[in-house]
Amino acid sequence: MKLPSLRIYAFAYLAFLYAPILLLPIFAFNDGTIIAFPLKGFTLDWFSQMFANDTLGRAVRNSMIIAGSTAVLATAFGIFAARAGTRFSFPGKGPIMGLIMLPLVLPEIMIGGSLLLVLLAIGIELSILTVILGHVLIATPYTIAILNTAFASLDRSLEEAAYDLGEGKLSTFRLITLPLVLPGIISSMLIAFTISLDEFIIAFFLAGNEPTLPTYIFSQLRFPKQIPMIMALGTCLVLLSIILLTIAEYVRRRGLKKTGAKDTGGFL
């Protein structure tokens, strides 16, 4: 701790990162229709209004289906890619991995817009299914990033021992590899779920008439009357995200301990 000023700066930075989010619960419980200081009083009205809203209910259901499917599919694709990437070398690896990881930097509007063109051109009707297609695409690079660490910290001699003892490829994967990378898989599914739950642009382009949570929120933001309820909804969403992420981080660390790898940091 040679430089205390750097430490102070770090804490100030954290405060700056969190400050806007801290406003959510404050106004979610505030008994006033406009979002402004001074605060009026305590109320739970906004939460009960939230639970009574039918469109919101449908949006939640859609978002859960989309996020759940995305988590499973993106992680499955991630397992293939991370396994291939960490274990094998093959021609064209760089370009192939580059293409798969491209959505990390490509603006989402490019993905949403180009998918929309293709889907309309081949005449596929927009639904939550098409949103899943897009979300899997953007979540897969993140799952690969997480799973890469899991697969890279895997001791290859364990698999070789299983082959030597007469296990086949599949049974080795099931009995040896899978249990060791399982924490990584769970953590990547949770991350993919969170990404899909929060994603707006692609859902905005590809959902057709079906509401998802972010598109519903976006549609309500222009009505000042609805804002306090959105604050309540936001509080719930942020809480849910934090819970999911905390579980993901906990599982990831346990997994690292299991394989004996050094903890080098966060998800990416």
Binding site: M1, L3, L6, A10, Y13, L17, Y18, P20, L23, I34, I35, A36, F37, P38, F80, A81, A84, G85, R87, F88, S89, F90, G92, K93, G94, M97, G98, L99, I100, M101, P103, V105, L106, P107, E108, I109, M110, I111, G113, S114, L115, L117, V136, L137, A152, I191, T194, D198, F204, I217, I230, G234, V238, S241, I242, L245, T264, G265, G266, L268
Partner: protein, 363 residues
């Protein structure tokens, strides 16, 4: 970051193969392998190394595999890897590469009413680039993105430095976790919160009013007008992309061999000079990655200009969305998207080229 993961995978395989198989090989093969190993230390460029890899993978397969050519092919490392990656690769080709090519193709088509006329024309591009509105919007997008990138990376560097050099190793992942949480939580709501904070009756203005700083006869007469400005858009985006910039810089700093810094100081450099001449150049790959990973997505941001700019200060993404959805002029929307991406790609390449001497890797 992408490049580093790919080359890291390559490293692992290379190291693993050379370690486990060296003793069994014939002396000539061993020499060849060692040479390759050394060579790849000298040139750790993925392109180069994958080319070399193909060369050296071939003799190994012939040695290892027995039986028919088909089973040899089935058991080769390349075939295994390709088979394993094929589901993900196929998905990316069908749902990413093909749509991007479609958007490129559409940009050369003509727009008919409710249909697209498949006839190659450069009219869209001509219209896009002669349109002063497009040029103004593109310029605004570039300024906003540039500003955001500058602010984010400048603010993020000290944090990454603090994390890498001043935080106890067992605390690092907790810090990283705390930093990444806001990044994963509802982007839309975080952007909207900035509207709430900066608005005419927003948190800042009403807060200042309630402590008596705003009002008639007070320090400030009228509430501050902060929304619908480029500055507000930049501030919101900078907040949203902050963790994006920290992570790559942190990774680069973590890779720095600490003995280099001691050497610098032993040789009489001051702490500041050691930082400038050793740490900073070695951290540059991370800084370049951070710049790209912030600059490219922010240019395509739709939500922030819409909410914070009040729709009055559109950026490129808003223009693309307007053409694709409400105006339903898909060729024009595609041409705008392709033009904007081409400009972004050119700027990014120029930036990477300008920093090429830092990206060469260890000498």
């Amino acid at each position: 970051m992408r490049r580093s993961t790919a080359s890291w995978g390559f490293w692992k395989t290379l190291r693993a193969t050379s370690r486990s198989e060296l003793p069994k090989k014939a002396p000539r093969a061993e020499k060849w392998r060692r040479a390759m190993h050394l060579a790849s230390f000298q040139f750790p460029l993925p392109v180069l190394s994958s080319a070399m890899l193909r060369k050296r993978a071939a003799p190994q397969e012939t040695r290892m595999a027995q039986g028919s050519p088909l089973s040899r092919l089935k058991h080769s490392e390349a075939a295994n890897g390709l088979a394993l990656i094929s589901p993900t690769a196929l998905y990316a080709i069908l749902l990413l590469a093909a749509p991007l090519l479609t958007i490129l193709a559409y940009s050369f088509f003509k727009d008919g009413y409710l249909t697209v006329i498949h006839e190659v024309t450069f009219e869209n591009y001509k219209a896009v680039w002669t349109d002063p509105i497009f040029r103004a919007i593109l310029l605004r997008s570039l300024i906003v993105s540039g500003l955001v990138t500058l602010v984010t990376v400048a603010l993020a560097f000290p944090i990454a430095y603090f994390l890498s050099f001043h935080v106890r190793p067992d605390r690092k992942s907790l810090w990283l976790f705390l930093i990444t949480i806001p990044f994963w939580t509802s982007y839309l709501i975080r952007v909207f919160l900035w509207k709430v904070i900066l608005g005419y009756n927003g948190v800042i203005n009403s807060g200042l009013k309630s402590i008596g700083l705003i009002g008639e006869g007070q320090l400030i007469e009228d509430p501050l007008q902060m929304l619908n400005t480029v500055g507000a858009i930049a501030a919101t985006l900078a907040h949203a992309y902050a963790p994006f910039a920290i992570l790559p810089i942190f990774v680069a700093l973590e890779k720095i061999d600490r003995s280099l810094l001691e050497a610098g100081q032993d040789l009489g450099e001051s702490r500041v000079m050691t930082f400038l001449r050793v740490t900073l150049p070695l951290a540059m790959p991370g800084v370049v990655a951070a710049v790209l990973i912030v600059f490219i997505p922010t240019i395509g941001d739709y939500v922030t200009p819409e909410l914070i700019g009040g729709g009055k200060l559109p950026m490129v993404a808003n223009m693309i969305q307007a053409q694709l959805l409400p105006l339903d002029n898909k060729p024009m929307g595609s041409a705008i998207a392709v033009s904007a991406m081409a400009v972004v790609a050119l700027i990014s390449l120029a930036f990477v080229f300008a920093n090429r001497r830092y990206l060469r890797g260890p000498k």
